[in-house]
Symmetry: D2
Subunit: 94 residues, 4 copies
């Protein structure tokens, strides 16, 4: 179990919607839609993507803590938190 | 002409690639891939999307200035710049 | 005239407030305030800073377009827009 | 202990530097420095601030996990992770 299996369908539904929005932008570019409207749509995709990322991160943190409590391997836990922090940093900067 | 028509094929190619990356994330979720690897992939999509947005914005600004020089309608120009600024603000906050 | 001189006092007031908020965070760290409350304060500073940046950018774009209309030096205009785009890109990525 | 006390001096040093950078921007505005140079400086401050935020978050997560292991109060842990996730979301969106 990776920690996000329970809500997998919810994530897939949101990712399908994002995929559709990216295709929508392709259509907008093909049809020469006004640039500002395309930028608005890109901002909406960014927000939807961030929301997926924050959801995954939340479950990952729960999973890490649950693991820490049952296994308690300090070295492994440090590694996991360093990994999570690096992922957060990439998200904040992207 | 919307200002980005000349490089339309380049934008479409990049958006197709982003669409493929979003589908890749769906596969990762279905296959229970490690959460941190999915987050890394999401950060890559965000960066690719921002790069498309900045490209579109650049061409839009060129277009606005070119229009300003040939038509010189001050009210129209103010409206365009306000619109571009609002789009930049949405991008910076998304 | 750099394009933002008219509202200079407004910018200075907002920057003074941001400076005070940064000092506030120093106090919070010194007094061992709860980490999450410090992070909330940092997010508020980021938003205030972005708002200053978007304001400056808006005036800069107005200024560029106004210059383009009176001087109309195409090479100079291209340079200005490239510069503004690069600044936007740094903001979006920071 | 709030989890970041050990490196408190490091945080204070970085926050002092950020405070100085904010004052630097005030001087730039007063002296009518070129707008793009001010924006570059704002991007640098944003990055420095994010780096402080990610550092605090990292220590907070370590602290939460350490607490979870010694105290193991599931309700309390859920609350902490929800709180940390909300802070991450605010940072990603700011």
């Amino acid at each position: 179990m990776r920690g996000y299996s329970m809500e997998r369908d919810d994530y897939l539904k949101r990712l399908k919607r994002i995929e559709g929005q990216v295709r929508g932008i392709q259509r907008m570019v093909e049809e020469d839609v006004y640039c500002i409207d395309i930028l608005t749509q890109i901002s909406a995709i960014n927000k939807a993507m961030q929301s997926v990322a924050v959801g995954l991160l939340n479950e990952h943190l729960h999973h890490c803590v649950a693991n820490a409590m049952t296994e308690g391997d300090a070295g492994e836990i440090d590694k996991k938190i360093a990994e999570a922090t690096a992922a957060i940093e990439r998200l904040v900067k992207s």
